[in-house]
């Protein structure tokens, strides 16, 4: 059992991590993150890199959808914009990778802002539909703007190199993607300690009172859209470097739904939710694979049910969480923590 600790100043009271226990866990987590590449094999490193990229994108989408209440089905397409920008720069200018990454994120932000324009006119669900439209139009551009995107053939990207080390494998790439992910998550967490983050939440909860408090709705909605696209752009750029090749089919509408599912399952409107959701959704196919392996002696053609099962489970997770645990894994986590916090006393 742990008791409340007195705060000495308002700054301390406003800190992200307030108790000693939290700091201990944080250092422990950091230690695990540093140790991980030395103990895991390449496959598990590959998964963790992929998860990190997904966390970045999911965090961005959560800022827009979870915190600001604007549904977007365009996250994958904006990742595509980032990825293509990075790929083009890599092939044509040879500029260093972090410049490319930022340029990709910038381009994604720009495109996101344009796609977000309907949010000025229309509320809620119309925006979701507008983002579907934007996805299709972007997809068309990826396919048909051959001089830049090489059309359906796709583009190959050289692995990034930092200080002479070529990051061409998960064990090295990890050291790039993991710190970026941690920083991106921290930035998002910071955002919600300030007026801007509060304004986003206000727009989601009650846009009328928000505007009475002096919050300029179009401005903040667009800003939220821009931030989400920026995150998508970073994730997309990393994706391009990580996989080394992209094509128009790398960023389908289904991938946007994947991110939406990730934040629903993880918990909308919480940073932790983006993280848990991205981890969970990325690992779900793996978990299912083990499940099917276990079942295979009892079912004919067990491997053949895997992919349909994946699709169905994917949908079932969205539906199930929305129906039964709308606050997602983050809420379950909170309850578990609360239980141990008060342990051995029951509430």
């Amino acid at each position: 059992m742990r008791i409340g600790s007195p705060k000495e100043s308002y700054i301390a009271d406003e800190a992200l991590f307030r108790t000693r226990t939290q700091w201990v866990w944080l250092w422990l987590l950091l230690a695990v993150l540093i140790a991980y590449p030395f103990v895991a094999n390449l496959y598990w490193l590959f998964l963790v890199c992929l998860i990190s990229i997904n966390i970045i994108s999911a965090t961005g989408l959560n800022i827009l959808t979870g915190y600001t209440g604007q549904v977007s089905l365009g996250q994958a397409a904006f990742m595509g914009v980032g990825a293509y920008t990075v790929a083009w720069l890599d092939n044509n200018t040879g500029s260093p990778f972090f410049i490319n990454l930022l340029a990709g994120a910038g381009m994604a932000t720009l495109v996101g802002l344009i796609a977000g324009l309907p949010s000025l006119r229309v509320k809620g669900l119309y925006l979701a539909i507008a983002t579907i439209g934007a996805s299709f139009i972007l997809q068309f551009i990826f396919i048909n703007w051959e001089s830049v995107t090489r059309g359906t053939r796709g583009i190959n990207i050289e692995p990034p190199s930092v200080l002479g080390v070529t990051l061409d494998n998960p064990d090295t790439f990890y050291w790039l993607v993991m710190p970026i992910m941690v920083v991106m998550v921290l930035l998002a967490a910071n955002l919600f300690r300030t007026r801007i983050g509060r304004a986003f939440i206000a727009i989601r909860d009650r846009d009328i009172s928000a505007s009475v408090l002096g919050i300029n709705l179009p401005f903040y909605k667009l800003m939220s859209f821009g931030i989400a696209s920026f995150y998508a752009g970073i994730a997309g750029g990393l994706y391009a470097y990580f996989f080394g090749a992209i094509n128009p089919e790398s960023f389908p509408l289904l991938m946007s739904i994947f991110f939406l599912a990730a934040i629903i399952v993880g918990g909308m409107g919480t940073i932790l939710g983006s993280i848990l959701g991205a981890i969970f959704m990325t690992l779900t196919p793996e978990i299912l694979r083990y499940g099917v392996d276990i079942l295979s002696p009892y079912i004919d053609n067990a491997p053949q049910i895997l992919s349909p099962l994946r699709t169905a489970v994917f949908g079932a997770l969205i539906v199930g969480f929305l129906l039964f645990e709308p606050h997602g894994l983050a809420e379950i986590w909170r309850r578990v923590r609360r239980f141990f916090h008060l342990w051995p006393f029951r509430t």
Binding site: W44, F46, N156, G244, P303, L306, S307
Partner: protein, 392 residues
């Protein structure tokens, strides 16, 4: 290296935890007496019809060759997992299999995946082939460690066009293709090839992916009045629909297809309407008994009923790998991808046991050889209407 060694020791307790959590650990190196072929196989999803047959074919071949004593005394082992024909899953499967096994050869299930993984192949020095016949991959400069299991799509269209130019010089040809990476592949080279051969390109018709209704495209086709129409980028739909409408509109265009549309399925699914449908096929059909074909005999011995061409493709993969591995072993070279590739380049007039109707040679990454078959509904079979055509 010292640092990482030290870290490994320090991290031993953490490692134990990670092991417990993930079951993840670098695995023992494969037995030296084995040759391992990994595969990202589309056993579910939209490409499952091909993936499942391929998987069966390859398994049967592996069993067959190992019964004959393997390759120079070594066992061939095949490790394939389902990808659902999704690029990210294909990569994940590749990562998983290669982190577990000491893979010598790999099979990829799509152009996109084979492109994506190319860098990794170079790094790991693994030789790859796959289900894709994309012209893009037929480039030894960019894709030095990949080879195709027949003519690339441009070459397939080229074979069709050569046949047309021979049969009716100056004919009008239309291309009908889906707006996908698969569909677009041979169109531009196909058009220039047609002009080169003195044919007229009457129309190039694009159908959007997943389009159910091709009414207006069919009207466009009628207006173009081509003598031949070449479909590419489809498996089945909307080919039957096009042909049916063309018949209703009183057209006498002859319709043609490429490898993935040319299986027996087209007769089974289309029935009467399939009669006269032609196309290019690099492999011998199960029932094609013209000429000696020991491998086809082995297949027929194993299965009394019709086996699809993708099943045969599974066998062909095995046969080619066997040839390459055997020659490499005989030369006493280590089993690296580059060495395997070197062997491949040195091979000539490869005997595929009759899967191809004549000994084959690689040009670049592909084998530009195929034959024109025509659907004969009364026999319920594809019958050859040309000799084996090899492009220069």
């Amino acid at each position: 290296m010292l640092v990482s060694k030290l870290a490994r020791q320090l991290m031993a307790p953490v490692a134990a935890i990670a092991l417990a959590l993930g079951g993840a650990f670098p695995t023992a190196w494969a037995d030296n007496d084995e040759i391992v072929l990994g595969g990202s196989i589309p056993m579910t999803g939209p490409f499952a019809f091909a993936g499942l047959q391929f998987d069966r074919g390859l398994r049967d071949y592996v069993e067959w060759i190992n019964r004959q004593g393997g390759i120079e005394g070594r066992t061939l082992r095949y490790v394939g997992e389902d990808t659902g024909y999704q690029q990210d899953q294909s990569v994940a499967v590749f990562r998983r299999i290669t982190s577990r096994e000491n893979v010598n050869f790999y099979f990829g299930d799509s152009t996109a995946f084979q492109q994506t993984i190319n860098r990794e192949l170079d790094r790991r020095d693994i030789l790859m082939t796959g289900a894709s016949f994309a012209s893009e991959l037929n480039d030894p400069e960019r894709y030095p460690l990949q080879f195709l299991l027949g003519p690339d799509y441009s070459e397939q269209v080229g074979i069709l066009l050569s046949y047309i130019a021979e049969e009716s010089p100056g004919a009008r040809v239309a291309f009908i293709h889906s707006d996908t990476e698969f569909g677009r592949d041979p169109i531009a080279p196909g058009r220039s090839k047609a002009e080169e051969l003195g044919l007229t390109v009457a129309a190039t018709i694009v159908t959007p992916p997943g389009a159910a209704d091709i009414s207006s495209a069919a009207l466009e086709l009628r207006r173009a009045r081509p003598d031949y129409a070449i479909f590419h980028g489809y498996v089945l739909a909307p080919i039957p629909d096009f042909i049916q409408r063309a018949r209703q509109m009183g057209m006498n265009t002859r319709f043609m297809g490429t490898y993935y549309t040319m299986d027996q399925g087209i007769i089974n699914e289309m029935g009467e309407a399939a009669d006269g449908f032609m196309g290019v096929m690099p492999y011998r059909y199960y029932y094609d008994e013209t000429g000696p074909a020991p491998i086809m005999d082995a297949i027929r011995e194993l299965h009394g009923d019709y086996q699809t061409t993708t099943y045969t493709q599974g066998w062909l993969t095995g046969v080619l790998i066997t040839e390459i591995a055997r020659e490499t072993l005989r030369a006493g070279k280590p089993f690296t991808g580059s060495n395997l590739r070197e062997t491949l380049d040195s091979l000539s007039d490869i005997d595929t046991g009759g899967i191809f109707g004549q000994p084959v040679n690689f040009r670049g990454n592909s084998i530009p050889l195929g034959r024109i078959y025509r659907a004969d509904v009364s026999q319920g079979q594809m019958v050859p209407v040309s000799d084996w055509i090899e492009l220069e």
